[in-house]
Point group: D2
Chain length 345, copies 4
Amino acid sequence: MLIVMAADASREDVAQVTERIVALGLTAHPIPGAQRVAIGITGNQGAVDPALFENLPGVLEVIPVSHPYKLVSREAKPEASVVHVSGVPVGGGNFAVIAGPCAVETYEQTRTIAGHARQCGAQILRGGAFKPRTSPYAFQGLGKNGLEILRDVGREVGMPVVSEALDERSLELVVEYCDMIQIGARNMQNYALLRLCGQARKPVLLKRGMAATVDELLMAAEYVLAGGNYDVVLCERGIRTFADHTRNTLDLAAVVAVQRLSHLPILVDPSHGTGKRHKVVPLARAAAAVGADGVMVEVHSDPARALSDGAQAILPEELSQLLQQVAALLPLTGRHLAPQVRAKG
Amino acid sequence: MLIVMAADASREDVAQVTERIVALGLTAHPIPGAQRVAIGITGNQGAVDPALFENLPGVLEVIPVSHPYKLVSREAKPEASVVHVSGVPVGGGNFAVIAGPCAVETYEQTRTIAGHARQCGAQILRGGAFKPRTSPYAFQGLGKNGLEILRDVGREVGMPVVSEALDERSLELVVEYCDMIQIGARNMQNYALLRLCGQARKPVLLKRGMAATVDELLMAAEYVLAGGNYDVVLCERGIRTFADHTRNTLDLAAVVAVQRLSHLPILVDPSHGTGKRHKVVPLARAAAAVGADGVMVEVHSDPARALSDGAQAILPEELSQLLQQVAALLPLTGRHLAPQVRAKG
Amino acid sequence: MLIVMAADASREDVAQVTERIVALGLTAHPIPGAQRVAIGITGNQGAVDPALFENLPGVLEVIPVSHPYKLVSREAKPEASVVHVSGVPVGGGNFAVIAGPCAVETYEQTRTIAGHARQCGAQILRGGAFKPRTSPYAFQGLGKNGLEILRDVGREVGMPVVSEALDERSLELVVEYCDMIQIGARNMQNYALLRLCGQARKPVLLKRGMAATVDELLMAAEYVLAGGNYDVVLCERGIRTFADHTRNTLDLAAVVAVQRLSHLPILVDPSHGTGKRHKVVPLARAAAAVGADGVMVEVHSDPARALSDGAQAILPEELSQLLQQVAALLPLTGRHLAPQVRAKG
Amino acid sequence: MLIVMAADASREDVAQVTERIVALGLTAHPIPGAQRVAIGITGNQGAVDPALFENLPGVLEVIPVSHPYKLVSREAKPEASVVHVSGVPVGGGNFAVIAGPCAVETYEQTRTIAGHARQCGAQILRGGAFKPRTSPYAFQGLGKNGLEILRDVGREVGMPVVSEALDERSLELVVEYCDMIQIGARNMQNYALLRLCGQARKPVLLKRGMAATVDELLMAAEYVLAGGNYDVVLCERGIRTFADHTRNTLDLAAVVAVQRLSHLPILVDPSHGTGKRHKVVPLARAAAAVGADGVMVEVHSDPARALSDGAQAILPEELSQLLQQVAALLPLTGRHLAPQVRAKG
């Protein structure tokens, strides 16, 4: 933390700031400049609240210096983490493709898409059973029934499954039926849910909130790790901006930023990140090229009839193309497609 | 819904779109233009999913026309709603001032601030017992203990109380101890929580999410009304933008937009909306001038020592000034300070 | 400037940074912390380029401390500046209302609107003769002819006039015919034009760019002052965000921020700031309440037939209402309507 | 254009809207719905101003349907344009790498960087002679002298050169000395400058403004084409958002959007798009993978001593890596590195 004093701050102002620092058990380092004095603070564990100084007389600005996360940081653990999702490694060179329908609708629909996805090379099956919908009147998902379908199909084709949890009840079910828990963008700062994920014994796929900075994404992950669950995979899925040609603006530089700051794997979701089918494959290529640890995409065999978000689902043949193109460029960043698991039965 | 066909769309493309519209039980209205054809759709209840048409051959663009909310809309209920918070009317000309500490820390702290707020003219007492904190290592609130303090102080000074609920457990406690449930910006799209609010028998203060449009705020409120709880007060608290001189950018035009589209009252929170103490009173004046139905502000008698968010809390003397200035300009918009209630005991 | 070293930076890394600081003729102030070292820099005139240090080995972050503007800052000149526009004082308690058509269309149109604006209490007449239009096929303004009309009408009714300059040629004409030069949001960082304004002998109305921070607005003003022209009035006119209920998001907290950092007056433009007629008067009230030094509004006697931007122009009767309401609340911030000047002839 | 009437609009309101449409010489297509009437408009050349209808009684919303650009659109010219820069083709499968120093500083510096860039495979040399700097006190470029160095070096090594023009004077010099005119992000809506570019006989590199939508970028290009200059190359260089881990947020989906809407080539600038050296190569790969027609990067042999923007310049060895990696993935999108030209003399 650095405290910058105003040019006209008095000697007493500086003394008062210094006293408060000392009173907090910290050390003050005054730096006299030509125009003003700045005061560095050391000795703190974690972040100091800027509010403790911001309104003292003579204080111009309070500048935080340390980042507030610990367990997720590369300083804490320099090597990249590999998260194992029931046999599929994610991160550390393993590029994961999570594919499946936006929402589980029927066994047949899910089985058809999953069969194709497995054949193309995708390793993990996604499918929503609890859908966070903007409108209370929209289709909300099949619930437990949907999770059963997803689990059964995953076993049949040989894909661990991931589905979104919205609250305590759905989390319990997702933990029971799935191999990985998805926390959606709207819940990235639902701290009650994050704490529950910290106690869960399943890996967590944590999506970046639409208005979240990279630091806030890492802090949200810190909640899960602080609860004792170290198996977290992050996911960039677009942020909200003024740009109107896509539903969100996919921020691929965030992948590079996260990989510098944290050891956790990070995926990219070009389906929600663009909201337009024709942009999904190009942006998936870009995600692989930038060095992401995987992608998550929505697939539908008949997107025009999908019950939710059909406009962003790609067709099965587009998924094949995606896998081929992505596989071709992974060696550039020292990555390879993660291995698939076998069907059970 | 309007479907715009590409300039080079074939007659078959147009026919296919028309057929799908008819197959959905709706009516198609082709509008032949010089360069292209557009097709209007009528007969729908609620919104039609653009995805059903967006990827059909020859379709250039799908433009939604109707707004998807119903119960919250002014078309459904033209006159402004008045929400009663244990005797304090909010909306319909009644300007409410909700004031109190960011977090309940001790009985003495809460009692001191509440006594002053009541004396200045504030009608409702706020105080956080469950705090959504970015860091898992930060002070998280006193929980049930804090709610007890808040309730007791509210009764003593004569102010209904409002506190934030984060999940099912905290919601049950807030409903038990408080007169109004606050749903914070981070939970605006926590639909599980909104549904529970729909079943609660207490008014709800719903804050706009940092990345939420006005339509999404209204849809979130629709969840609560659709659940049977019509007592919802909205709150503009700033959106996330590139501007770095405030923590968020307070969007006062949203007040006017909401009042045109909906009958629900809307408050403004200049504390979170700016994040800077010296900006709170000026923006509270602006909120009153633009026609808001109230403001919510954080107050602390010793902000530099507050356990959370002290930098944005105003001092007691600033609250007095705020009330005086706001009261002076309310007549301009046909409003007046809402009446206070009596102390119990 | 503060340089934060990585936790694992070596003694040599720190030494290299220190050497570079010394080589630049500056002073290094190492601050040893428990986890890392930070190094303060003093002795610099103006900002030091972070790039000089950002990529040195062991450097984690470079944090600028001083603001880069000088002449516009309150530290340089503590008292508020009053800018005189041919007899109308702006700032220092004088609240200016600049009103008029978006574009000068005919003498009659301009005369009608100006006559009404003068009668309501507006002091300065605006009217575009050179219009920056998104489309090359849209009406571009009457040019010199429009400026002649504007000047003549201004003299007749007793209002100094302001019009936008887009380039060197139009600037010469605006300087010749008008009392104040307007630089639009799209040209806020057109440094060639700002330099020319620095040499002009007329006051400048500088609008904030749609993506400009407050610091960048002040730096743009610094260009004009550095050129020798100290008569600059700033104008907040909305920034670009995801919010879609207005054309731009009016950032009223920027008024407070500017007034703390700079001595220059700052106006608010609720016409461009909202883009919707029904929001102009409420936001003008809010601007006055927040403490702005004036407002600039577009007025049209028949907005539905206006050649440009008619949707945001208010009607003459709305201007009367605006002036009355604003005048009523100015005393709250120690302001009053600026005096008008007399008609010439 | 579609006009949506309010649910309670009267028959007279509808009639008045229809009359105005007819009075403008256009055709009205009323679409009666269950809840409301909508009215389609056809017969217009180019866009109709929404303002003509927005404030009529009973009008709820006015929705523009056609895009306002013509010459730049794919509807006007379905095949991709190839822009020839003194022998280097850009677009239509030709991937161009524009590389060079942020600012031309000395002959030696420019020659060293250019020699290396040519050897790596870059085809076009960039270098600023007129720099748009946020601060009036920062290094502003060598001007004409810099252009001479750039031209000479370009001839020696065999690279056409591009440099930024800021105003009429610098544009004349850039046209004289360079093979391509760069218009920077801050000037994307400097329509006076765009018009001059329309008359210039050199290709134009037009960068997207920090707050510009894709439509506005295309409209800015339309200014140049409408002036008679069809040789325009667009450039995505990041937009302004709340995200703080990069200087701007690179919007790679805009590449796909532009390529669908327009026939013009589009490049990506990962140097300005991220502002961080370590993110340039990953984002350049992503740009190639998404299907861009080239990249523009800043290179410096000693970035820590660069006079401007050194933090985002890559080292010569990083440029080699960039070219190799990009070349390896171009076949995925049916592209290849554009051919180089020969040194003259």
